[in-house]
Structures are given as C-alpha cells and as structure tokens.
C-alpha cells in the first residue's frame, strides 16, 4: 500500500517560462504523488496558471522537463496527456451543446470507446451532481453548473491526475462549498492539483501546499506543517523582562506585544506552557492569559508574499 501511495504521477524539473523579457515561472520543481491533493497558492500574477498550463501541455516550457507517470510530455504528448484531466480558469465548454453531447464529445476526445461511453457519462455526471441537467444546453446553465460541467469534463476519462485552476472563482458561497466537497471527494480517488488565491479553500481540501510568488516556489510543505508550528501567547499582570521568559525551559524567544502580553516562540517540538505557568507562580508575575496560537496558512502566506503585495500597492 505504501509503495503504491508513493508512486510519482507528475514530476516537473526546472520549469521556466518566459514571455519575452518577463519571466513568469522560474526554475520550478513540482512532484505530485498518488493520492495527494496539492494546493498551488500565490498572489495574482504569481505564475500559478502558467505553471498549470505547462503541466497540461497547453504551454511549452522555455526550459525544464515534465514527466507524467514517467512519460515525457514533450516527447510523447499524446500518451502523457491521457493521464491528465484539466479544468482551466474558464471552463472550456460549448454553450450550444447539451451537457450530454458535450461530455460525450470530451469522452471521445479522451479515447473512451463507444460502448463504455454511457457508463463514463453517468458516473461523471453523478460525481458532479449533473444527473438532472444532462439534456439542458450548457449555455443556459448557471455559472456554478457550468463550472461543474468543466470539472466533469476533467474527470470523465478517470485520469489519475486532475488539475483544477481556480475552480471556485465567481461562484456563490453555497456553490463554493459544494465544489469544495466535490474536490475533497475527488481527492479520494484521484491526485489533484488545485490552484487558488483563497486561503481557506486550500486549507479545507489540500494535503500539501505550495506557495508561488514572483514565479518562484517559496513554500512547499504538507498542510500539517503549518499546524505544527504553534506559538504561545502569555499575559501577565506584573510582567517580567522578556529575557526572563526566554530563560524558561522550552522557550526559544519572547517578544512583547504590549500591555504585559508576550508572543513566545517555543523550541522545536516543545510545549513550554506548563513551565511558564510554574515560573509565573514562582515569581508572582500574575499570569492572566496563556494559550497556544496556531500559525495559520494566512500568516505563512502573508509572510512569504508580502513583498509582492507591498510592491503591487
């Protein structure tokens, strides 16, 4: 089971894409293993879409190599693309076709034989909640449903890898929740790469996060890593000097937040709360507040990309 889970589905090495003098993506490495849901995060214009276009063969990288299930996308594009399903930012639908006609066409494009077509169509529609609208024209559906048709198109041939570019953009909150549930379900049977600039979305569905800024990968960790790095906030009535706090066992450093409150960063893997409480009682600091504070994805994101945001402002 473990070896199966470690199977590498997408391996991109040194991806670079230039548009004239502008470098959109620079020397990006990306690995996607079986069963992973990878979130691509970054401010607008960071290179998320460019990366996805390169991974799906819509854009040739200026440098670098992409292998999908070990097949080079450059040398054998037809074979490699067979393992991919892609939903671009704009769902690539034909408004004048019905949902059934459109999905049937997509199935044919991906080489699904005629006799398996009905089953593939039915299961894709079931997964995306489209069973009731099969006979309707795509152009008459709401944006949310068109987005589902776009996702159905990406999974109809049951590819091992599904790549979704901002799948919830322009949807209402209920539709966003539905699409998220759908993506979480997809993650059980497919490997998914999902791009977004909405943090809770990534937090809700992804197992690993990759933050791209200025075309570079600035962060690439499992979701659990962001949750593991907790810091401690402590408040005292008679606050000591910060150096006294830093001397406590398991504490790496402390910085005052004002009003007798401190942000205390623990040593790796240590939880200093008990030691702080003991020290506070011993030296009569008057402990009034003590809790662990999780470092959220948002903090990580802002920390790593704030340079961009400031530059853009």
């Amino acid at each position: 089971m473990d070896t199966e889970h470690n199977e590498v589905l997408i391996e991109a090495r040194g991806l670079t894409r230039r548009y004239g003098p502008t470098v959109a993506v620079s020397n990006l490495d990306l690995t996607l293993r079986k069963g992973e849901v990878l979130g691509l995060l970054g401010p607008n214009g960071a290179g998320k879409s460019t990366t996805m276009k390169m991974l799906t063969g819509n854009l040739a990288p200026s440098e670098g190599d992409i292998r999908i299930k070990g097949v080079s996308l450059r040398e054998q594009p037809k074979l490699a693309k067979r393992h991919l399903g892609y939903l671009p930012e704009q769902p690539p639908v034909y408004p004048e076709l019905t949902v059934d006609e459109y999905l049937g066409y997509c199935a044919g494009l991906h080489g699904i034989a005629n006799k398996e077509l009905a089953a593939a169509l039915a299961s894709a529609k079931r997964d995306c909640g489209l069973s009731d609208v099969g006979h309707r024209l795509v152009g008459n559906l709401s944006k949310g449903y068109q987005q589902r048709v776009g996702i159905a198109q990406a999974i109809i041939h049951r590819p091992p890898v599904v790549i979704l570019d901002e799948p919830t953009v322009g949807l209402d909150p209920i539709q966003i929740r539905e699409i998220r549930t759908l993506i979480a379900d997809l993650g059980k049977s497919h490997s998914v790469i999902l791009s977004s600039h909405i943090l809770p979305e990534i937090q809700a569905v992804c197992g690993r996060v990759m933050i791209i800024a200025r075309g570079l990968v600035v962060y690439n960790e499992p979701m659990a890593a962001t949750q593991g790095e907790a810091s401690v906030v402590a408040g005292f009535k008679r606050a000591p000097e910060a150096v006294y706090l830093a001397d406590i066992e398991g504490v790496d450093g402390a910085s005052p937040l004002g009003n007798g409150r401190f942000l205390i960063s623990p040593r790796k893997g240590a939880d200093p709360r008990e030691a702080i409480a003991r020290a506070a009682a011993q030296f009569d600091w008057g402990l009034v507040e003590l809790h662990a504070q999780q470092r959220t994805l948002e903090e990580v994101f802002v920390e790593l990309t704030s340079g961009d945001l400031r530059a853009a402002a």
Binding site: P77, P91, G108, Q153
Partner: protein
C-alpha cells in the same frame, strides 16, 4: 483517425446549431435560385438561335460560374469561428489538453467544415436535378462543375481555417480571409499584364483559373492537384501556427 472523426462530427453539429449556417444556406439558395431561373428564361427565350448552347452549359457553365463569387463571400463567414471563437471563449484548451495531436485537431475542424461544404454542394446540385424530368442533361458536365465548386470551397475552407487560427476575433478572421482569398483570386489580373515578369506564373497561382476547365467540363488532374496542394499548404500552416502558439 477516430479523433479526427470525433472532432469533425462535433464541429459539423456546432456549425448547424448556429443560426449563421442556416441563414447562409438560405441566402445562397435564394440568390442561386434567382439566377438559375433568370438563366433558364434567357435560354428558353433564345432557344433555336444558338444551337451550340445546351441546357447543361447554362447550369454547369453560367450558374456554377456565378456561384463561385457567392461562395467567395460566404466561406469566410463559415470559417471565421473555427479557431478564433474557440480562442476567445477559452474552449480551445479542451482540444489542447486532450490526447490528440495538432494535426488531428486541424484536420477534424477542416473535415467538419467540409461537411457544411457538402450540404452547399447538395443544394446546388438540386437545381439541375429539378430539370432532369423534363430534359436530358449532360451529367458528366454537371458533376465536373460541382466537383470544381467543391474543390474551390475546400481551398477557401483551408485558407479560412488558417486565418482563423491567427486571431481571436471572428470578424477579423472573416475580413482577413476574404481579403486573402480575393487577392489570390485576382492574381490572374497580373497574368494579363505583359510588363510583369513571369506573368504566366500568376495565372497558374490564381484560385479561379483552375476552376475554368472544370466548369467547361474538362477534368484535368493538374487543376484538382492544385486545389489539393493549396488546401494542404494552408492546413500545414495552421498546424505550424498552433504549434507556435504553445511556445
């Protein structure tokens, strides 16, 4: 091969789902019918005066000769959307991310348009057919004329497909392919100007000069090959163009 067929079938279906195709067919049929009746009345009025001229000359010669101008006007409208609109709406991504080659995409679209061309040819064939019960027609002559029109439209379609792959605005694609076709059509003007060096070459390159023999009922393989080469050239250019787009 199945990919080409699949793309072609959907393209054909999409062409006929748009009101444009029906409007174009209606207008073509009305104008060609109008000219057809006029030519017939003229022929009937002048019966006996010029015994060399048969009814097949009227249909295959004059009528189909006139139709070429009309087809020059409508084909850019039918080819303008092929790639330009897909690029504009982003649906081109579907084809680019699917496991099909660029050649298959281009051929699929092309065959889809040829399906429309076949319908036009069928409608044009109806007119001589309507005379079949009352007179004897030279079917070989009519068939040569229709084949000529089919080849001419094939060439128009290939050039239009290429121009459509250059832009994301369907209207610009229509105007530009009309311009391109007209220029190639009119290349034969240069052929009549003796001061132009190699003026015969232009006559050979012109789109319309190769239709002349087929219109007269002469099946010359050189003319057929011209249209096929012309189409192949533009299809190849389209594949190149789409490949450049990815790089």
């Amino acid at each position: 091969m199945t990919a080409i067929f699949n793309i072609a079938r959907t393209e054909w279906r999409r062409i006929f789902l748009s009101p444009l195709a029906w409007a174009v067919l209606a207008v073509v049929q009305f104008i060609v019918g109008f000219v057809f009746i006029n030519l017939l009345l003229q022929y009937a009025g002048a019966a006996g005066e010029n015994s060399d001229l048969g009814v097949s000359d009227v249909v295959a010669g004059s009528l189909y000769g006139f139709s070429t101008v009309l087809l020059l006007l409508i084909m850019p409208l039918m080819t303008m959307r092929l790639f330009a609109e897909e690029r504009k709406t982003g649906s081109i991504t579907l084809l680019f991310s699917a496991p099909v080659s660029l050649t298959e995409i281009v051929l699929g679209k092309f065959v889809g348009v040829l399906g429309f061309v076949a319908v036009v040819i069928l409608l044009l064939a109806l007119m001589p057919l309507s005379l079949a019960w009352s007179t004897h027609l030279d079917w070989g002559r009519v068939a040569a004329g229709l084949l000529g029109l089919f080849l001419l439209m094939t060439a128009f379609a290939a050039a239009g497909l290429f121009v459509s792959s250059l832009t994301r605005e369907p209207t610009i694609a229509a105007v530009a392919s009309f311009g391109l076709l007209l220029v190639i059509w009119l290349a034969n003007i240069l052929a009549y100007n003796d001061s132009v060096p190699f003026h015969q070459v232009f006559s050979y390159l012109s789109l319309i000069d190769h239709f002349e023999s087929l219109r007269r009922g002469v099946f010359a393989s050189a003319d057929v090959v011209y249209y096929l080469l012309f189409s192949a050239l533009f299809l190849w250019l389209t594949v190149l163009r789409l490949d450049i787009e990815r790089n």
